[in-house]
Structures are given as structure tokens and as C-alpha cells.
């Protein structure tokens, strides 16, 4: 290791940073006696970058050279920017040494495509294989699968990685082909299918032989860029919802488009990345995954885009005043989850606390329930009955958005952890 690595690190982190997925959760690769690393439990953020985002993994490219020319990507071949390539040893060392100092949970490895997909994929596999087999590293590894790589290589990578991902980037095939002429949906969905097949195969094998190797235990994820094409939230969320129907798909990430190649007129000129829209998509994503919402309840032909002013759950509730008010002392957990302002935690607290005593506003506040939004949608012991039905949805909306002008500004990016309340 020497100073030259410093320069490479700078170039290759710069090139990797637009991929927003960072989570290191969802796996259970436990520590082994006398070895380095463990990826048990929840992903830990070891730091937060100045854009407020969690730093959990060393997010890095093996090389930022690329034979492709995707319009939305900083590393496209027609860009004139410093290029660098790590050797396998350098990257492995860097990961291990960062990990030993408690800087990171593990590695998030991606790469530009050099020579051909298999050549690139093979190099990536060597990095993760060395980490696991030579260094006995049990930390978290997220590896991008290179579109076009062979199934054999995907199968090998899956033995070492905790999670793999293939980014869709553009939610509509025509737009994708316009912006990335060398790609189509096939080139994205084929490697996704390889990963899924690997997982299912391994699950089968493990039924027969308990010690059959595990295959990407944390499943796969993908990312879509938001705001680079005219696609609607409806298109994005329908694709998301279809992806979540596949057992292997654990997370869909949304990345507000950052105009890295302003000269390319196929792309819109945005002053700022669409961060609020991105945030609303994450909220909608949570409704799909944890709140039992169907995608048609969130967006449809009459409402093809998410409301930027209010969160998607509140938007749904205002469109469906007939479902309210809900009696917090009696309603099912499922129904509590539908109340704007009540998150999973609050709903659980309510279910527990009402076993001991009937709940009024005072008790709700005491157990930490925030009533700002919820008050218009619930009844409890003694709450005045000014609910959404008496006030009318448009008035509730006005009350709740009155002061939010300021909020929209500094709400820039809210990390999608527990903000749906």
C-alpha cells in the first residue's frame, strides 16, 4: 500500500457514489471463532457523509473505465475524467484495513465494464473470493452483477456475496434504450433471474443437505433513477411492486437524478435533484412493504404522481375519508397502520397499552404517539370529534400543509428509515 492508492481511492469513490443503496442489513453471516468480521443483526451506519447519508459500506468501483456510454452515468466512455483501476490485492487490503478500524461494515463493490462483461465480472469475483477464502472475512459484501455476465460467474459470486444487485436505472424500456443504447430490459432482467435461480437452487439444496452453501443470503436489490425521464411515479411504483413479488428482491432504491452530464440534451436540465419526489417514493415503497398497501391504492390513472406536499399515506386517507375515524381502543392493528401519523411502532404501542387501560389523548401522548396528523382520523376516549368527516378532507389538507413551505426546504433528504409515521 502506498500513496498512489490514495489517488485511486479518490477517483473510484467519486465514480461509485451515485449508487444510493447502502444498507448492510438482511443477512445473518455470523462471526466465526478467531476470524475477522460478522454481518449479524442490523446494518450499522459507521458514519454519515456531508449529504447526510449513511456510510455503512466501502462503496467503491474496481475500475471506472467503461466501454458503455449510458447518458446518466458519470463513468460513460465519452466523458473525459480521471480513470483508475484497483488491483485485486489493493482493494482487498483496503477493505480489510478499513474494517479492522471499525470504519465500515463491509464492501459494496461495483465496476465499469472493461473488455467484456465476463472479464469484468471475473475480476469482481476474485476480490470477493479472496476476502472470504484467503482473509476469512465475514463482514458484509454487496456486489453488483455486471449485465451480460455469464450464469456461471453469477453463481460463483453468489457464494461469497451477501447481496447482489443489478440496477434497472430507467423504469421504462424505451427510455432506457434511448439513454443507454447498449442496454435493454433483457440485459437487466437476465442477471436478476440468474441471481434468483441461484437463491432458489441453494434453498432447495439446503433442504436436502444442511451444509449446502448459502447463496446471497440478503437477496438482491436494484435502483431506479428518478427524474431523468418523463416516467410517472405510477410507472415506477408498478415496476417496484412487480419486483417485490419476486422472493429474492429485497430492496428497490430510488435515486433523485443528479445531472452529471449536463451537456447531454437527452436529459433534462434540473437545477436540483428531485429530492422530495425521491423521498415520497421511499415512503410509498414502505407502504408497500410494511403497511400492506396495494400499489393501486397509492397511484393510479387519476393520481399518476405522488403528492409532493403530503405523504402518500395521508394522501390515501384524504381520498378515503369513509374509512375513518378509527377507534384506537378497538381497531385492529392493520387498521391502525392506515392512520396517517401512526407508524409501526406507535401502532404496536397502542395495541399493548390498551390492554392496561382505555386510551385517551393524554395516554396516547404519554406513550409517544404524535397526534398532529392522527387526530383527524381517530377517535379515542374523549377526543373532540372533529375528524376528517366533519372537517372535510380539503380542510384537513389545508391545516396540515399550512406551515410546511419551510419544511419542504429543509426536509431535503430524509433517510428512509422510520419517517413514515
Amino acid at each position: 500500500m502506498d500513496e498512489s492508492v490514495l489517488n485511486k481511492l479518490k477517483i473510484l469513490a467519486e465514480s461509485a457514489k451515485y449508487d444510493v443503496s447502502c444498507a448492510s442489513s438482511g443477512t445473518s453471516r455470523s462471526h466465526k471463532k478467531g476470524q475477522i468480521g460478522s454481518a449479524e443483526g442490523w446494518g450499522i451506519c459507521h458514519s454519515f457523509a456531508e449529504d447526510g447519508r449513511c456510510i455503512s459500506l466501502l462503496k467503491i468501483m474496481l475500475t471506472n473505465n467503461c466501454i458503455y456510454d449510458c447518458a446518466y452515468c458519470i463513468n460513460r466512455r465519452s466523458n473525459d475524467l480521471p480513470r483508475a483501476t484497483f488491483s485485486v490485492t489493493e482493494l482487498v487490503n483496503l477493505t480489510i484495513e478499513f474494517y479492522r478500524r471499525n470504519y465500515i461494515e463491509g464492501l459494496f463493490l461495483s465496476s465499469g465494464v472493461v473488455r467484456n462483461p465476463d472479464y469484468t465480472m471475473e475480476r469482481l469475483v476474485r476480490v470477493v473470493k479472496d476476502l472470504r477464502q484467503v482473509y476469512k472475512f465475514n463482514g458484509y459484501i454487496h456486489m453488483k452483477s455486471i449485465p451480460g455476465a455469464s450464469q456461471e460467474l453469477v453463481n460463483e459470486a453468489g457464494l461469497y456475496a451477501d447481496r447482489m444487485s443489478v440496477n434497472i436505472e430507467i423504469p421504462n424500456e424505451q427510455s432506457l434504450q434511448l439513454l443507454a443504447p447498449e442496454k435493454d430490459f433483457q440485459s437487466v432482467f437476465t442477471p436478476m433471474r440468474f441471481i434468483q435461480q441461484g437463491m432458489l437452487q441453494s434453498a432447495e439444496d439446503r433442504k436436502k443437505y444442511r451444509h449446502a452453501p448459502r447463496f446471497v443470503p440478503a437477496g438482491q436489490s436494484t435502483q431506479m433513477i428518478v427524474g431523468a425521464t418523463p416516467d410517472k411515479d405510477k410507472d415506477i411504483l408498478h415496476l417496484t411492486s412487480a419486483l417485490y413479488k419476486r422472493p429474492s428482491m429485497k430492496r428497490v432504491y430510488y435515486s433523485g437524478f443528479v445531472p452529471v452530464n449536463a451537456y447531454d440534451h437527452r436529459l433534462p436540465a434540473l437545477k436540483q435533484p428531485p429530492l422530495i419526489r425521491e423521498n415520497r417514493l421511499y415512503q410509498a415503497d414502505w407502504l408497500l412493504r410494511f403497511y400492506n398497501f396495494k400499489v393501486d391504492e397509492i397511484v393510479d390513472d387519476s393520481y399518476p404522481d405522488l403528492d409532493l406536499e403530503i405523504d402518500p399515506k395521508l394522501a390515501w386517507a384524504l381520498r378515503h375519508p369513509e374509512a375513518f375515524p378509527i377507534d384506537v381502543n378497538r381497531a385492529d392493528y392493520e387498521m391502525l397502520l392506515r392512520v396517517p401519523g401512526l407508524g409501526v411502532k406507535s401502532a404496536k404501542m397502542i395495541v399493548t397499552a390498551r390492554r392496561y387501560s382505555r386510551l385517551g389523548t393524554a395516554q396516547l401522548k404519554q406513550i409517544g404517539v404524535v397526534l398532529k396528523k392522527a387526530q383527524y382520523f381517530i377517535t379515542c376516549h374523549e377526543l373532540p370529534t372533529k375528524t376528517v368527516n366533519e372537517l372535510k378532507p380539503e380542510n384537513v389538507r389545508r391545516i396540515l400543509t399550512q406551515r410546511t413551505n419551510r419544511k419542504i426546504d429543509d426536509g431535503q433528504l430524509i433517510i428512509p428509515f422510520d419517517f413514515i409515521n
Binding site: 500500500m1 502506498d2 500513496e3 492508492v5 490514495l6 481511492l9 479518490k10 469513490a13 467519486e14 457514489k17 451515485y18 462471526h31 471463532k33 478467531g34 476470524q35 475477522i36 468480521g37 460478522s38 449479524e40 450499522i44 451506519c45 459507521h46 458514519s47 454519515f48 457523509a49 456531508e50 449529504d51 447526510g52 447519508r53 449513511c54 456510510i55 466501502l58 462503496k59 483496503l94 484495513e97 478499513f98 474494517y99 479492522r100 478500524r101 471499525n102 470504519y103 463482514g139 433523485g256 443528479v258 435533484p273 429530492l275 404501542m349 399493548t352 397499552a353 390492554r355 392496561y356 387501560s357 395516554q363 404519554q366 406513550i367 429543509d410 431535503q412 433528504l413 430524509i414 433517510i415
Partner: protein, 255 residues
């Protein structure tokens, strides 16, 4: 007003519970040995810590409380908050007196309060796990030091044992002046008579650093700076997620 005087240990507190039930007197105030008594009070008792009695109280609690609720008691003790002992005393007393576990009865102010303290201590433990940074010394030991708000080091050790089983390490609390050292086989609590530079400042002097340590610190600092997306800078969120009180000991914030 009834005052109990005890040695400010957790065992002492449990002994005090035992004594209270045998005297049928319950403290309004708990004081440490040598602390000043208030001007007026009715009675004072001095508790002599006794492992047998404290053990009996603990066994009794084990029958009434779930494992997480028990660990909540010991965890909250580590908060070292001024009146945490009295709060724990009341909680334990209510547990003993109630026919069934009170642990989920958040309508009770003591139960609610204790759950809040618990959350705070657990948060601090998590932050230490997130933000502790090892520096490698020339002898191969990895050294990390910080000043946690609560006395949470002991709660962090299992995490370190899991991850860093093949390296020697020392995690040190600069505020409470003790630490835990792992020598590749066991973890021991350590106190130092003589405090060298890094036990005071938290930073290894370059003369005792591993030869590559400086480079890795620079690499990490570079990475940290580079990875932020300039178009999305958000100092407020940054501060909220990475509290300023940790910055001093964070390698990446010293670059």
C-alpha cells in the same frame, strides 16, 4: 422522610430492596456513603451490601420479569443518572408487589420513565459501536477511545468480540478512565495507574503508531470527503445523524 445509605453499586441497591422489605420501611431518598444528609429527615438506614441478599432479590425478579425487562434494569443502571437508583428501586418494588409483570404497563410513570432511560442508554451503546475508531499501534494493538455519555462500554464488548476476534484491541473510556483489553483470547477490564498521552487525549502519538496507520487514516478521510454528493449537501441532517460531540474522536472529522 426515610433515607437509605448504600455503596452506590447495583448489588447494594438490590440489598437495599431486601432490607426495605425486612424492615418494612421504604426509602424516599437513596444516598451514597459519605454524601451529605438533608437537614430534616425521620430515619436513616445504612445498607451493607450482601451478595446473598442481593442474589435473592434478583432471583425473585427473574420469576416476575422477562429477560429483556431484567436487562433493562441493569442497562438503566449504567446511565449513572442522578436519581436512577430511586427510579429502579420504585420499579423493583412495584414489580414485587404487583400480581403480574408491570413491564408493559406504560400508563405507570415509572415504567414509562425507565423505558425512556433504557432507550437513551441503548442509543448511546449504538453510537459507540458506530463511531468508535481504532488506531493501530506499532505493537499490533488496535486502540480506540471516546467519552460516552453513559457508562456503556461493557455493553459494546460482545460486538467487538464478534468482529475483531483476530486482532488485539483496547477500548477506553476517557471520562471514566477505564477500558477493556482483548489479548486474542480473553477480554479484561483494565485501569492504568500512569496515564500516557493517548489515555488522556484519545490519540496515539505518531511515534507509537503502526507504520501504515497514518496512511489508512488519510485514506479514510479522503473517502469520507469524496463520497458526499455535492448537489445534495445537507449539513443539518449530517449533524443530526453524526452528533458533534463525537467529532473530536472521529478519524474522518479530523482530516
Amino acid at each position: 422522610m426515610v433515607i437509605f445509605i448504600y455503596d452506590k453499586t447495583f448489588d447494594g441497591l438490590l440489598t437495599a430492596v431486601f432490607d426495605a422489605y425486612s424492615y418494612k420501611k421504604f426509602p424516599d431518598i437513596l444516598l451514597g456513603e459519605g454524601e451529605t444528609l438533608p437537614l430534616f429527615y425521620d430515619e436513616s438506614f445504612t445498607v451493607t451490601t450482601d451478595s446473598e441478599r442481593s442474589e435473592r432479590v434478583w432471583k425473585g425478579l427473574q420469576k416476575k420479569l422477562s429477560v429483556p425487562a431484567l436487562s433493562q434494569l441493569t442497562t438503566c443502571w449504567l446511565s449513572e443518572l442522578p436519581e436512577i437508583d430511586l427510579l429502579l428501586f420504585r420499579y423493583i418494588r412495584k414489580t414485587i408487589d404487583a400480581p403480574r409483570s408491570i413491564e408493559l404497563n406504560f400508563g405507570d410513570p415509572d415504567v414509562l420513565e425507565l423505558s425512556k432511560v433504557f432507550k437513551q442508554v441503548k442509543n448511546e451503546r449504538l453510537r459507540v459501536i458506530q463511531f468508535l475508531r481504532f488506531q493501530k499501534a506499532a505493537d499490533g494493538t488496535y486502540f480506540a477511545a471516546l467519552k460516552p455519555l453513559y457508562n456503556v462500554l461493557s455493553l459494546v464488548i460482545p460486538y467487538l468480540q464478534d468482529r475483531f476476534a483476530d486482532q488485539k484491541w483496547l477500548l477506553y473510556d476517557l471520562k471514566r478512565e477505564y477500558g477493556y483489553y482483548y489479548d486474542l483470547t480473553t477480554v479484561t477490564e483494565v485501569h492504568f495507574e500512569q496515564k500516557e498521552g493517548h489515555l488522556l487525549t484519545g490519540f496515539l502519538d505518531e511515534s507509537i503508531m503502526d507504520q501504515d496507520e497514518k496512511l489508512f487514516q488519510q485514506l479514510w478521510q479522503t473517502y469520507f470527503k469524496t463520497i458526499a454528493i455535492k448537489e445534495r449537501l445537507n449539513p443539518k441532517l449530517h449533524r443530526q445523524n453524526l452528533p458533534a460531540r463525537f467529532w473530536k474522536y472521529l478519524t474522518e472529522k479530523r482530516g
